[in-house]
Symmetry: D3
Subunit: 241 residues, 6 copies
Amino acid sequence: MIGQSGIAVRNILRADPASVVALGQYGVATIHEAMGRSGLLAPWMRPIFPGAKLAGTAVTIFAHPGDNWMLHVAAEMLRPGDVAVLGTSSENADGMFGDLLATSFRARGALGLVIDAACRDVRELAEMGFPVWSKRVSAKGTVKATLGSVNTPIICAGALVHPGDVIVADDDGVVVVPKAQAVEVAVAAAKREAKEAATRQRLAAGELGLDVYGMRENLHRAGLRYLESEADYAALGQAVR
Amino acid sequence: MIGQSGIAVRNILRADPASVVALGQYGVATIHEAMGRSGLLAPWMRPIFPGAKLAGTAVTIFAHPGDNWMLHVAAEMLRPGDVAVLGTSSENADGMFGDLLATSFRARGALGLVIDAACRDVRELAEMGFPVWSKRVSAKGTVKATLGSVNTPIICAGALVHPGDVIVADDDGVVVVPKAQAVEVAVAAAKREAKEAATRQRLAAGELGLDVYGMRENLHRAGLRYLESEADYAALGQAVR
Amino acid sequence: MIGQSGIAVRNILRADPASVVALGQYGVATIHEAMGRSGLLAPWMRPIFPGAKLAGTAVTIFAHPGDNWMLHVAAEMLRPGDVAVLGTSSENADGMFGDLLATSFRARGALGLVIDAACRDVRELAEMGFPVWSKRVSAKGTVKATLGSVNTPIICAGALVHPGDVIVADDDGVVVVPKAQAVEVAVAAAKREAKEAATRQRLAAGELGLDVYGMRENLHRAGLRYLESEADYAALGQAVR
Amino acid sequence: MIGQSGIAVRNILRADPASVVALGQYGVATIHEAMGRSGLLAPWMRPIFPGAKLAGTAVTIFAHPGDNWMLHVAAEMLRPGDVAVLGTSSENADGMFGDLLATSFRARGALGLVIDAACRDVRELAEMGFPVWSKRVSAKGTVKATLGSVNTPIICAGALVHPGDVIVADDDGVVVVPKAQAVEVAVAAAKREAKEAATRQRLAAGELGLDVYGMRENLHRAGLRYLESEADYAALGQAVR
Amino acid sequence: MIGQSGIAVRNILRADPASVVALGQYGVATIHEAMGRSGLLAPWMRPIFPGAKLAGTAVTIFAHPGDNWMLHVAAEMLRPGDVAVLGTSSENADGMFGDLLATSFRARGALGLVIDAACRDVRELAEMGFPVWSKRVSAKGTVKATLGSVNTPIICAGALVHPGDVIVADDDGVVVVPKAQAVEVAVAAAKREAKEAATRQRLAAGELGLDVYGMRENLHRAGLRYLESEADYAALGQAVR
Amino acid sequence: MIGQSGIAVRNILRADPASVVALGQYGVATIHEAMGRSGLLAPWMRPIFPGAKLAGTAVTIFAHPGDNWMLHVAAEMLRPGDVAVLGTSSENADGMFGDLLATSFRARGALGLVIDAACRDVRELAEMGFPVWSKRVSAKGTVKATLGSVNTPIICAGALVHPGDVIVADDDGVVVVPKAQAVEVAVAAAKREAKEAATRQRLAAGELGLDVYGMRENLHRAGLRYLESEADYAALGQAVR
């Protein structure tokens, strides 16, 4: 049950490493499109420094507002290639994560953190090159008093994340790929990327998307009226206002 | 009529190129002041990379939430020196614009984009040096299903923009100068800039704005009381709280 | 009385310079923790460029929305090592501060500005290396028509600031240390920093926070259940959903 | 020019009274649809009491944040049947309007107020039955120090309003009908209303919109797949998660 | 897969009717507590009129911003006792639902709607007594152009909802109870309610929660210091500020 | 020190009861003006039912996000005529307060609650006639794990509140009057009210504020230009746009 507290699952099934590597080659936008335009976390999740990028497997954390106890429990579950992903039981923007936890997470092999709350020590994290996607930056400290869970399904920034799912994050945001679909999404992303490369060339050469994508017919059918000038527009009888 | 869908105007009257060049020498804040403190788009419009700057003529786009079809229609209307400016029929923060459209826009000679929604592929756009001012960054994809308009008057981020108006944008935000006022605003901006340069020197030398701007008299008339110490303040009978 | 207009106090008691220097060695998060997790301004206060950092004594400014008159009055009160701190009588995000005021403030010896409103000319400010923490960036100009106060107690971004208090600000935000507590907070911060350095080493070596901080006992007492696998979790009788 | 200060226009052309009466028969949603889904103010504009409703001609006010001077200037311009409509030069939520101004406005024959800022004395206004649509309720007082304008074109809550335009407001929000289109929009609204009445009867009788609007064909063409059961959904090969 | 478009499932397993009736006796807060403080939708979901209350089984709808096509598809799936629950692929606040759809939904036996977007015709809906919980009220119309899904798992206002789950909503918000847990949650809610009734009596008689809940020991252990007066507080050496 | 945890002060100096009664006769807006436009809590503090009104003395509570333990500690400190006022250490919108606590508070003689977080059981509270001003309504439950303080100075919704200060709240919001100023503010409010009554009569009789307040001279001096018609406005050389 989503939102259940007091559970920590030690061993989880992670997405196939090869599929993680494959997905890591593509941007978040490409993967989101390859999944039928799904899987994105809400756009308020922003990297704490530009150029941050990662692809890894999720260790999920469910925490309560102003309480980062479960991040310590999660540290023990992290393995090389993992990404910690934290959702909260209600809206919160306290600084649950800083450079000490980052030091610990890195020592465990974690690649980064996705947290639907705030983080702090952002300068130190940038210097460490430890990437975090968070809702906010805040120095606000937290307590360690209330149990949440580790490695149970969570909602993070409006997206459902299961332990072991693939997380890809870059400057555009964060996307989650269910572990069972990782391979097929990687294949679809590759196809999309290839197609886009061809399109990019045509567009760079000055061709219009209207022609490359063959949109003119649909626009016409939808009723788009082309006018030659602003005067024609005014002549429609509508005051230009 | 603002908000009318289904129209695309091919030829528009653009502001005089010389006035665009002239305005491009000044910052957004200076131009806004030179217009009698008007013309700004809402401050939620932020550049996707620091140092972005442009001055160009507006090709306007009216679009519906989650639908970027009209950006493709607009591409055909863009000419060298233009800036695409997109307003929506209701609040939206989907990623309507990415590197493929930027490739196409650049091939058409466009200088950048101002979009009251989100854009994506921000790393690629930064690498291309294609500047975008947007409300948000989001990887969220859009559809191409509903007609809006191109080159009709729009509201973008709370400002009225006519096709052909001058758009100036920098790290401080975005300002629109009506094409009919472009010359006089450029002149006013030049005067303001000259005056500010002189003021800057005096302030740098340690003179106070109170004296440079002659404010002491007005402050006195408005009733400002100078107290010598915090003790005097406490003695006013008001607990320091 | 908080929120009283029409007063400017010329001479204030400032925190001991040595304590300011001492506090300047620590990050905002560390100082906040050293104060018993208090003293932070709201996290919407962000630096206008990355890497900004300062520690100084507060000259306080109380202003009304859309009116920056009091910033000019404050300039005269600024001494080397001061930080101007501005709170408003109601929510506002106009660009009250720009490069001219920064030139004047710097000439007076001020280190930077903390403003619960917006600033502009952010590129010029970054080039000057004049740090500002603000709620927003906005080119919107203001008037000089209504009296506020200078060097009276204010609320800035939800925190109470007295003239002469210590302000420390970095990439994580802004913290205010009451002048009477500056020395003891600096001592507490030093202790905390020393302790964290030792902890950091242990965590970097792969020890877990669970052990370093001795959390296992408390987690057990609180009832945390460790499960070996996702299958065990499912077997709890709760559908994995 | 939108946003110009210091102008008050005494006599304006108002929409034809008969068209105002006609439009007043319809809800805001109906009129918005009858205008091709345009004309709405942003949805943050809410009535201060439920059941508020009006239709009248706009007297426009442009004001600066925290300053309600222009509302007094506008009072003189109000005639029976008018609605005061106020936009600001930047985001503001101060209580610019209360029961004294409402008393004055009512004495002038005004029907209500639409204000992209806050109002106060909401209990008294409700008792008077004087309707206001505002962004917020706030007791925060304002000054009378800076000129704006009266009866010039304004942007209010993201919509362009000219003096004399028709304003219709109800529990769903506020819509502006350009005076030149008032008659045709009233006709279109009447048609729409008639059509909806017939549809309502069919739907109330249990017919489905799919059939009433003939949507099945389009849904099929768009590729909608009907599955008989959740088992069939699971069998698609996608874990139900 | 959450967020998949183009699917409509005709027959779903609904929670046991008796458990729905049982849950309908309790408030949203009670049920949320009975579920171990889980299951709530985000608090931005508000009823469109005070006193609205319902308990029913979810028919889920996944829709795209500004597009209400799927609400029509869902109408066919609704059975007596159902509640339509709509989540969107990205943040949206357009008025997707009004009195015509309400008429249709009611004819199908639906009890109400929970929609993470806006609704309109709120006055008519209140007169019909058709309850809606939404993010906003907006007259903004939508299109019918893009497929979403019906009766697949969705995220609505940050909560995971499966078709057939129990939805309880009142003035405090909305809670979802997974169908498999409906019976046990109803039992737990009954117990909690009984216990609260006893507590209420004791509190009404003047007993303190400190004693009723036996908190004094824990407060003491946590270190709470009771001071007799504000003088004692000041004497702690901390300026009362 | 603001934000110190772990203290509960048993006996506080309360504002003179007569001054509380006197202040209770006036609205929040009037008192705010009588204090020189100061003392307001932020406008996000809204009553949970219309018509709520109170005037009492503050028992202050400092709490951490998601933790309502201190509300139970505060109950013991409440005396007849008190108003509980709660501020938090960081932004929070959990439902810290419901009908059980209200039952207890009422049994202690408290008049109501002002809470910069959320409350729940709002229907029951309305039926009890127990008024609450909060930031939000939310059913989200909280824990009792972390010490805050009772009867120390707090920041609530951006305002400084000392124990014993007068709190007046109505449909317009909440204002705090420092206990030392309660008498003089009551006198000033009475004067303002008397003056407003006279003004109201003149305005109701059709006199203009321009004349009642003698504004014409100042408007003229500020440079307001009256134009006779929209044609004159257009003739200024500015396109009506």
